[in-house]
Amino acid sequence: MEPANTLREDGECKGGILAHLERLETQMNRSHKRFEGPQRTQAEESTLGTRIHKLRLLRDKLRAEVKQRQAEIEASAASTEPDQTLETSEQEVLETKLENLKALLQAYHFTGLSGKLTSRGVSVCIHTAFDGNLLDSYIVDLVIEKPLWIHHHSVPVFIPLEEIAAKYLQTDVQHFLFSLCEHLNGYAGRKYQADRLQSDFAAFLAGPLQRNSLCNVLSFTYKVELGGQSFLFCARLLYKDLTVTLPTDVTVTHRGTDALSTSWEEQRVSHENLFRTTSLHKAFTSFAGGEKLNMSLPPCYFH
């Protein structure tokens, strides 16, 4: 018996097929019972045959299902009314444009200056950075009237805001903002160096770092070791120009009564030059023999 060959591939309705299958199964079981031993192969064949038959039916069912799904998709795609699509797509275009513009506005942050329009004028945000580190931001709210005036700001009190405003605000707003930017970045850079010195190189300091709020006058005593001997050096850094992050005046003196030997005098002079040309924390990194004392993260800077 070859049940597979007697049935048609496309099959009939479900009920009929299943009933037929059942009949076939019982037939097979009966034949299996009747013919054993040498009839084994024949039984195997019929099992396989039944299986093939079942699988074919299942496959056809699934094929039909997939076809239907595809038809559904095509139908729905065709059915969207053209008018509605046009209008909503205009909205989508506007929305995409809006998102793009918002992103571009955000991008201005990286120029160091960003801002937005207010009801009375403009709110400018000045960003600061030093040595690749992005630091604090400060806001200046300008009211656009004659004369221009500052309604509100977050600039620290020791930055000469009034002086800069008196010089440039009425004649050249751009110049006013850039001058303020220079002062704030100078301050942020000096503060960063002083903070790093205090946090990362405390082991070198003999006594606290003395600093003013503007961080343009720094004074500290530090230990220097050379060939088994150790000395205390006092450094005084003055930043006369408030827009710079390297000191304009440096004095390194020896703490002690004895005069310095030539090699120590050389050291003292080289330190003076180092402080004049390199940022504080980099100078101390070189004192530490170039090792990076990276025990803690830089201090708190939110923006």
């Binding site: 699934l62 997939v66 690749g132 710079v244 708190c300």
Partner: protein, 287 residues
């Protein structure tokens, strides 16, 4: 037998594939877009749709004004911007409440006629106490210009990973170049016979000479330099060319002190007036 077994295997494979096809959602993005649209269509009437378009346009207008404002303030026009975020937090870090995120940015735009493209990375580290943002890489690509000072600026900015300095210096440098160009052009147009621009429109020097007084020439060299800290400084110098005879008549050493006097003049009159007065010298000839 073998043929039947092969057929079984083939059928089983096909069934598995068909089952997968049935399980797959119908092009998911289409579904959500469709869902969005139908959602909107259900809850929005015709007039509401028009209103939201109007509202969007108003918002767009507002944003465009803000962009125009920033472009004027910074001197920089940003045209394209993209950002990609990568979370670098390891499990060890999460245990210690530390979060590390790497942000990759691409930015392009122009400053007057100078175009630039920037690619940079910012590493954000957040622990319990504070948040730090560090620029870990900066690449600047600029189209070649006739200003060699700009390529110096680019390498300095890249080395220091100093975004802000790059934009500030670029803005002021270009502004000064444009001002120099305008000023030189103004004088060339006003006194075409006396004024020469040897290097053309973007010349850094201006020559003054009078055909009726051959041998006498004044050259004003106007350099625009960017110093180490990124400050843009214009530097003007005066060069003189005088015939030997005239030099011998110069008892008061006016010629020798001319460059210094020019500097003083600049301080008093400013650039334009100083240049004008020097050019006028060449008109008061036959006396």
């Amino acid at each position: 037998m073998e043929a039947e077994r092969a057929e079984v295997r083939a059928l089983e494979a096909e069934i598995a594939a068909l089952r997968r096809a049935c399980e797959e959602p119908t092009a998911p993005w289409k579904e959500t877009a469709k869902a969005k649209k139908s959602f909107k269509n259900i809850y929005q009437s015709e007039s509401e749709r028009l209103e939201s378009s109007k509202d969007l346009r108003r918002q767009l207008g507002h944003l465009e004004s803000e962009l125009s404002l920033l472009s004027t303030l910074t001197g920089i026009s940003i045209r394209k911007y993209s950002k990609k975020t990568e979370d670098l937090t390891s499990t060890v870090m999460t245990e210690k409440n530390i979060k590390k995120v790497l942000q990759r940015y691409k930015l392009s735009g122009d400053c007057h006629m100078v175009t630039f493209q920037l690619e940079f990375q910012i590493l954000e580290t957040q622990n319990e106490k504070n948040l730090s943002s560090v620029v870990t890489d900066l690449n600047i690509i600029m189209e070649p210009t006739e200003y060699p000072e700009l390529s110096e600026l680019v390498s300095r900015a890249e080395e220091r990973r100093d975004l802000f300095m790059f934009f500030r210096s670029l803005h002021f440098f270009v502004e000064w170049c444009e001002y120099r160009k305008r000023t030189f052009k103004h004088f060339k147009e006003k006194y075409p016979d006396v004024v020469q621009l040897p290097e053309g429109a973007t010349s850094s020097c201006l020559g003054i000479q009078n055909a009726s007084q051959p041998g006498f020439e004044l050259v004003i060299v106007w350099r625009i330099q960017i110093d180490d800290e990124g400050k843009v400084l214009p530097k003007l110098d005066l060069l003189t060319k005088i015939p030997q005879q005239a030099l011998e008549l110069d008892k008061k050493n006016v010629i020798e002190s001319a460059p210094l006097s020019f500097r003083t003049l600049l301080g008093v009159l400013g650039i334009e007036a100083s240049l004008e007065s020097l050019i006028k010298l060449f008109f008061n000839t036959k006396e």
